[in-house]
């Protein structure tokens, strides 16, 4: 199905219930796109998610440029809205977790992360695009990797090699006999599990959200035949509800992603783990 280069929608449009046509359920194939340019077998190609990612960047920069390029002491409406978002990340997340003094340095990273992730998530419900960029693991993985590198750099810069190691392993003498076990778990958790879950949490949420939306959207169309029309209506109501729910989840996941990034850095900055 996805191999068909002429297909633009996620499902066949001429397929309805009672037509002897099986339900075209969404699946992994729904997250694969034929390249718009180049060849999928080589590593030189350009597809829909890439286009959306770059376009999303342009939109985020464009929006913030319009709001902040010539800022005024008495803000206009656009600047006020953008300032609210900026202030929410700066005060609500960064200052809250890292403190004003330590946190100031990481404000640009966190604000960029939030707006970027949010925009990439928002693509999910923007008409025509209707695909969350973050449901492709590569994008959350890159962002998680950036956070991971930042976090590890701070850990070893601040505490030195041994101190950094102690920081990552939760070294605490008072634990006594269980210390080696704790150190092993903590090390494993911090060095391998955290960056992985950081990326996958965002990815899986968006992946699942998109799958649900697809499921109800396809069902609304597929059921549009005979008695199925009544069920199609129910399914369509679910599409609307899920879209609203996704809108909420998108912002929430962007928030969670940034909050976790701040928490990791907070751990690295802490004197005693």
């Amino acid at each position: 199905m996805s191999a068909d280069p002429t297909q633009v929608l996620a499902f066949e449009t001429d397929c309805h219930i009672f037509d002897g046509c099986g339900f075209p359920a969404p699946g992994l194939h729904s997250f694969l796109f034929e390249p718009l340019w180049g060849d999928a077998d080589s590593n030189l190609y350009f597809n829909k998610t890439m286009l959306l990612a770059l376009l999303g960047s342009v939109i985020v920069v464009g929006f913030l440029w319009a709001a902040f390029s010539k800022p005024k002491v008495v803000p206009g409406k656009l600047q006020m809205v953008a300032e609210a978002g900026y202030d929410f990340i700066r005060r609500g997340i960064v200052y809250e977790t890292l403190g004003k003094k330590e946190g100031e340095k990481y404000v640009p990273l966190m604000v960029s992360l939030f707006f970027f992730v949010w925009m990439m998530n928002l693509w999910s419900i923007i008409p025509v695009a209707q695909f969350p960029v973050t449901s492709i693991i590569a994008y959350p993985a890159v962002l998680a990797a950036i956070v991971y590198v930042t976090w590890m750099t701070i850990t070893f810069k601040r505490h030195g090699f041994v101190g950094g190691f102690k920081n990552l392993t939760g070294y605490d003498k008072s634990l006594g006999a269980v210390l080696p076990l704790v150190m092993l778990i903590e090390f494993f958790s911090n060095v391998f599990v955290r960056p992985f879950t950081h990326a996958v949490r965002l990815f899986a949420n968006m992946f699942a959200g998109h799958t649900l939306l697809l499921l109800f959207t396809i069902a609304s169309w597929y059921l549009l035949n005979g008695i199925g029309i009544a069920y199609a209506g129910v399914s369509f109501v679910m599409v609307i509800l899920m879209t609203a729910f996704e809108l909420f989840i998108q912002a929430l996941q962007a928030y969670v992603f940034v909050l976790l990034a701040c928490t990791f850095i907070q751990g690295a900055l802490a004197e005693h783990h």
Partner: protein, 182 residues
Amino acid sequence: MSQLLILAAEGEAENPLIPPIPELVIGLLAFVIVFGFLAKKLLPNINKVLEERREAIEGGIEKAEAAQTEAQSVLEQYKAQLAEARHEAARLRQEAQEQGAALIAEMRAEGQRQREEIVAAGHAQIEADRKAASSALRQDVGKLATDLAGKLVGESLEDHARQSRVIDRFLDELEEKAEAGR
């Protein structure tokens, strides 16, 4: 069924947890674009303005505080002046009262003096009049007595010197008697 198998095969081929390299590159690029603009230009911009705004607000508050302090000091000054003015007025009133009292006392003393003068002058006048009357009376009484005596004794007692000596003696006797009788 065969379709499902194809889908399953496709899913296995494309593990959604294995990121394709080109998407990683584009993802990094897209994020770097956003981060670059925000970190280098837009956030410093807005931070400057937020700082300016904070200062403007705090400046306004400081100005208001200064104005209030000034108003307070002016009020205190005004109150002090008012109290001073009241004090001054009281002092002036007191002074005026004292001066008035002194003036009244002086006038009264003057009046008393003038009255005494007038009374004394009246007494002197009365005394002078009495004396004049008494001397005139004495002369008239002397003359009458002489005339009477002359008529009685038939002899003229016109010798003036003798006449007056006799009369004076007579009157003195009268006076002595009167004084002894008093």
